[in-house]
Structure formats: structure tokens, C-alpha cells
């Protein structure tokens, strides 16, 4: 998993609330046996119509906005627990998602797949959408170590992140990488265990 320490990039606005994981990645794309290739089908039914032609208005198609940060309306990632939603977002190229509320399971899946979900207040989210609208080349800076999202010289937000997950993001670890890194401790535990 790619480590995430600092990011300096533009953002893609998706000011829609309650985006569920079926919109992020429709069920018919869940049969793949690896984690790659899902980016093509991110927001599939919003990007392409039934004939497979690109829907020009949709933000990922209109060439107005690009970047590695996705800014979305509240309750992002609700619905089914499919981890594929996180894979699709990562495979497309996003590394950070900003919203005022994330569904629990999606949040866990995102963090375990190298994506940082940043929760801000409704007011802050509004300000962020406005900043992007005014200037689509507006660059945001995300600093994981200091937990700061900087929008402007005079507007920065401190965000919360679970201490363990923060360490994982900085190191590019998922849960298994972390467990493999503490093998010594596991072996020490085994050595002192009495088995009946």
C-alpha cells in the first residue's frame, strides 16, 4: 500500500449527499478476483449512460475539475459494506475524500486501503465547495503527520484520525502489514503461552 504523508493537489467537487456504495461501485462489478481495475467503474452509472457513452455533465467527465482529492456531500459511503468502493476510489486516483460525515464501515475500508477520509463540519464543507467553485485550480495541502488540511493561507482545518490508522497511512501499511511488522512480539507471546 502506498504511504500517504503529504499531498498537494487540486480537488474534484461532488456536492451530493448520501452517496451510497452502490453508486460508488454498482453491484454488477463485484465479481473480479483482484483489487485492480475498479477505477474504470467508479461512479459508473453517473459517468456513463446505458449505451456506454460518457455523460458530459458529470464532474469526472467535464474536464473542468481534476485532482487527487474528492470532496463529497455528507454521509458518503453509506449502504453496503463492500470494500470494492474503497478500491474503486483508490484505483481511480483519489487519495483523500473530504466530507462532513462518513459511513462507519466505508471509513474503515478506506483507511485500510490507503485513502484518508477527512471529516469537517457542514460549514467548513460549504466553504471548501465555494473555494473550488471560485477557482478550480485551487490547491489543497494535506499533512497527515500534523493532521492539518490547508485550503488557504488564512483557512486551515485540524482533522481527527485514529492514532493507529495514522501510523499505518504514514508507513503505507494495511492491517496485515502492521501485524507482520510486529512478528517478534507475536513470537514472544507464543513463547510464554501455556497450551493445554
Amino acid at each position: 500500500m502506498e504511504a500517504l504523508e503529504k499531498l498537494h493537489t487540486t480537488a474534484v467537487p461532488l456536492p451530493i449527499e448520501n452517496i451510497d456504495t452502490d453508486q460508488i461501485i454498482p453491484a454488477r462489478f463485484l465479481k473480479a478476483v483482484t483489487r485492480e481495475g475498479f477505477g474504470e467503474n467508479l461512479f459508473r452509472d453517473w459517468r456513463y449512460d446505458k449505451d456506454g457513452s460518457a455523460i458530459p455533465d458529470f464532474v469526472l467527465n467535464n474536464n473542468v475539475y481534476k485532482g487527487r482529492i474528492l470532496v463529497a456531500g455528507k454521509n458518503f459511503g453509506c449502504g453496503s459494506s463492500r470494500e470494492h468502493a474503497a478500491w474503486a476510489i483508490h484505483d481511480y486516483g483519489f487519495r483523500v475524500v473530504i466530507s462532513s460525515f462518513f459511513a462507519d464501515i466505508f471509513k474503515g475500508n478506506a483507511l485500510n486501503n490507503g485513502i484518508l477520509p477527512i471529516t469537517v463540519t457542514d460549514e467548513q464543507l460549504d466553504k471548501i465547495f465555494k473555494a473550488i467553485e471560485i477557482n478550480r485550480d485551487h490547491h489543497f495541502t494535506v499533512d497527515v503527520a500534523s493532521q492539518v488540511l490547508t485550503i488557504d493561507e488564512d483557512f486551515s482545518i485540524h482533522f481527527e484520525i485514529d492514532a493507529y490508522k495514522k501510523e499505518c497511512l504514514l508507513k503505507g501499511y494495511d492491517d496485515i502489514d502492521y501485524l507482520l511488522s510486529i512478528k517478534d512480539q507475536i513470537e514472544q507471546f507464543e513463547a510464554q503461552q501455556v497450551i493445554y
Partner: protein, 455 residues
């Protein structure tokens, strides 16, 4: 300290910033449905199984229950089982698969083989792993990415659940068994009542249950939303384990028993939540809706509910009695009720009787050992004479992943653990019950109160 805390604390490898803990897992069971992607993950990382002596596999969910000696005909099922066989070969995992004389449902064979023992932490990519808790261990179901974690490190990163104790005291009425006890409890707590908790079952009624009966109760602890359920070990537990293939022997067994005797909650232990029920209030139970919490005593009528969709699906009305309802299928099986005592109960009831003509009655033993024992005891002849079909072991109609599906709109009184819409087949109508109630229904062809048929 509670029993749960004693065992959990003894398995903490380290604590992680933010409150989670790394828990060591003593025993990992796997089956063909939730293991393929986990093995794939190991191959992708280029790492081996961490502890090959702490993992055991079986094929149970997808296997046919007839003609198991022939190749599996359904292609997707065959692929999953073949994938398990290949993975077990690649990674050196002992496989109790089709053809093995001790093959069976994962939560039946673990205890049978003496692998499940008090004080252990046990996991499997299957909800009903909680079954093993009957031996006084912490046993719970996990997702496929967690299966991969255990394969890679023999550990899991977990949040500690809260603790709950459910006491049941008093004498059970005749005709009432452990399945009725647990359906009764879930009907009181609801399908979400145990969420966030690990349950300990206690009380003299529980103490008086056999090991197999205790397994039925722990099996369904997750149907009340809990992470798992456990019962403190006692002499019955030690007697059950003694002599089994993987059980400790001689001096080692004696030392083990000395330790196992310490595995109980302290007198002054505090639980986050506690309930107490009176066994005498428990009647034979049935479910009338589409989650295991929607259960009633056989003599009661369908209660009013917000869940009208469930009643519509089952075609039951508020206020009606279920007695006398014509039933098309009876399924005796699943990790909840498919052990030798369940089969003996059914045999004792149907001996000399015959199933109702219109009914399909199927008995699927939990393992090859149960099947063999049933034949040694002559139960197969009793079943055959009564018109019941005795099949070969597997999860079968509990969830209909193999051919054993219940047709749309038809009712099945089932000794399994879930009655969700479409669980046993699209549009299938599942009514959960005990083996004894299921036997009585099969004979009468309709829903009856088994107590009326006992001397």
C-alpha cells in the same frame, strides 16, 4: 473478572494506539466459501501461512448431501471446493474434505475431533463459529480480510466487546429443548439485543444441558446481534473432550483439567448487561417472521408487529395461531441441530410412526461420524421406516448453497438458525424450530404442539 475477560486478557499480544488490541488466535477453522480470497491475498504478498499447526479446513457449505462420492455437478460449487483443495495442498493445511471419514460441518467436527477446548480463542469465516463457545472459549465469526490476517499472523486487530450474562434457571417442561431456550431468549432480546456484546450463558438450566445442547445455544448467540456466546466448562465438558482424537491425554489431560476448572466468572464479576429468565416459562418455540427474533411460543398467536413485510412474505396474519398450518418440508440439520443427540430425539419420536404423505422430510447429519454413529445405533432404519430421507453431511438446506433448496412459497420447518427472506431458496418460507417439534410436524404434516404427543 468475567470468564470472557480472563480468556481475552490471556490472549492480548499488544495494545494499539487508539484502543484496539492485537488478539492471538489459538485455532483457525476455514471452509471453501470464505477462504479463497484470503489465500489469494497471501500469494499476492508472497508470504506463507504463519502457523500451519493451528489451522484446519473442511468443505461443508457447497457440498451435495447425496452421492458425495461423485464429482460435484454444480460448476460454481465445484470450483469453490476445488479451490479449497488446491489451496490446502499449496499451503499444507489438513483438509477434512469430501471423502475424508471425518468430514462434516465445520462447527460439528471441531468439537468432535477434540480440537475445541476451554480457554481457547477460535475463529472462522462463518457467523456460527460462536458454537464452540459452549466449551468455555472465545469463538466468533470473521470476514475474509480477517481470515487473511489470521493466516498471515495468527492474530487479529480488534475492539474489545462489552459483556453480557444471560441466566436461565428452573426446570424445563417436557418436550422443550435447548433450541427452544435460545429461540425464547432471542424473542425477548430481539435480533439486535446483543449488539456490541459477548454473551455468557449461566444458570442451573444451562448447567443441566448436555454439551450438544449447549452448542445449540451458543450457536445462535449471534442471532441476537452478539459477537459470540460462551458457557463455562464443567465436568460434562471434560468428559466430552476426554478420549477424542486431538485431546490431550494422560498427565497432560489432568493438567489441562486443573486449568480448565479455573475458567469461570468470579463471584463478584460485573457484566455490562445482564438478563435472567425462568425456564418454566419456555414452551416449544417457532418463528413466524423473517428474522430469528420473530419467535413465539407454539400456543401463542402471531403478535402485532411493525414488520408487515415479514408477515406478508410468510403469509401469516396478526392474531392467528400457527397450529394446524400445513407444511411441505421438514429439514433436520445444520450446525445448530445435527448432532447425534438431535438425531436420537427425532428417532425416538418417529419410531413406529410414519411421516405425513405430502411432506418431504430430510435429515442431514452434521458429520460423517454422526452419520456413522446413527447407523450403528440403528437410527437409519427408524428414519427409513418412517419415510425420512437420511442424507450425507453438509450445511445443505440451512442456506441452500447446494441443490437442497426449498421451492418458492413453500413452508419448511427447519432446525437451522436463520429464517431470512430467501434464505433456503428464493421465496422459501422458513420456520425455525427444535428437532423434536420438527419431528412432530413431519409426522402430522402440519404445525403441532409436540407436548401433546408425548406420554
Amino acid at each position: 473478572m468475567t470468564l470472557f475477560e480472563k480468556i481475552w486478557n490471556a490472549h492480548i499480544v499488544t495494545r494499539i494506539k487508539g484502543g484496539r488490541e492485537v488478539l492471538y488466535i489459538d485455532q483457525h477453522f476455514i471452509h471453501e466459501v470464505t477462504s479463497p480470497q484470503a489465500f489469494g491475498g497471501l500469494k499476492k504478498r508472497g508470504i506463507d501461512l504463519f502457523r500451519k499447526d493451528k489451522i484446519i479446513a473442511t468443505a461443508d457449505h457447497n457440498v451435495p448431501t447425496k452421492n458425495q462420492h461423485l464429482p460435484i455437478s454444480e460448476p460454481l460449487s465445484k470450483k469453490q471446493v476445488d479451490t479449497l483443495i488446491q489451496n490446502c495442498q499449496d499451503f499444507d493445511v489438513p483438509l477434512y474434505g469430501l471423502g475424508h471419514k471425518k468430514q462434516g460441518i465445520v462447527h460439528v467436527i471441531g468439537p468432535e475431533l477434540g480440537i475445541t477446548r476451554p480457554g481457547m480463542t477460535i475463529v472462522c469465516g462463518d457467523s456460527h463459529t460462536s458454537t464452540h463457545g459452549a466449551f468455555g472459549c472465545i469463538a466468533f465469526g470473521i470476514g475474509t480480510s480477517q481470515v487473511e490476517q489470521v493466516m498471515a499472523s495468527q492474530c487479529l486487530i480488534l475492539n474489545r466487546p462489552k459483556t453480557m450474562r444471560i441466566n436461565v434457571n428452573g426446570k424445563l417442561q417436557k418436550g422443550v429443548s435447548s433450541k427452544d431456550i435460545v429461540l425464547y431468549i432471542i424473542s425477548k432480546l430481539t435480533a439486535a439485543g446483543g449488539t456490541g456484546h459477548f454473551i455468557e450463558f449461566a444458570g442451573d438450566t444451562i448447567r443441566n444441558l448436555s454439551m450438544e445442547a449447549r452448542m445449540t445455544i451458543c450457536n445462535m448467540s449471534i442471532e441476537m446481534g452478539a459477537r459470540g456466546g460462551m458457557i463455562a466448562p464443567d465436568q460434562k465438558t471434560f468428559d466430552y473432550i476426554k478420549g477424542r482424537e486431538h485431546a490431550p491425554k494422560g498427565e497432560l489431560l489432568e493438567a489441562a483439567i486443573e486449568y480448565w476448572k479455573t475458567l469461570h466468572s468470579d463471584e463478584d464479576a460485573l457484566f455490562d448487561t445482564e438478563y435472567t429468565f425462568d425456564a418454566e416459562d419456555i414452551s416449544p418455540m417457532l418463528t413466524y417472521g423473517t428474522n430469528p427474533g420473530m419467535g413465539i411460543k407454539i400456543e401463542d398467536t402471531v403478535p402485532s408487529t411493525d414488520n408487515l413485510k415479514a408477515l406478508e412474505y410468510m403469509n401469516f396474519q396478526v392474531g392467528e395461531s400457527l397450529l394446524g398450518k400445513k407444511i411441505e418440508h421438514v429439514f433436520i440439520g445444520s450446525c445448530t441441530n445435527s448432532r447425534i443427540e438431535d438425531l436420537r430425539q427425532v428417532a425416538a419420536f418417529v419410531k413406529g410412526k410414519s411421516k405425513a404423505e405430502h411432506i418431504n422430510a430430510m435429515i442431514v447429519p452434521g458429520s460423517k461420524q454422526v452419520e456413522l454413529q446413527a447407523k450403528e445405533e440403528g437410527l437409519d432404519k427408524i428414519f427409513e421406516a418412517a419415510g425420512f430421507e437420511l442424507r450425507e453431511p453438509g450445511c445443505s438446506a440451512c442456506l441452500g448453497m447446494n441443490e437442497d433448496k426449498i421451492p418458492t412459497g413453500q413452508y419448511c420447518v427447519s432446525t437451522s438458525n436463520r429464517n431470512f427472506e430467501g434464505r433456503q431458496g428464493p421465496g422459501a418460507r422458513t420456520i425455525l424450530a427444535s428437532p423434536l417439534t420438527a419431528a412432530a410436524v413431519a409426522v402430522e404434516g402440519k404445525i403441532v404442539d409436540v407436548r401433546k404427543y408425548l406420554n
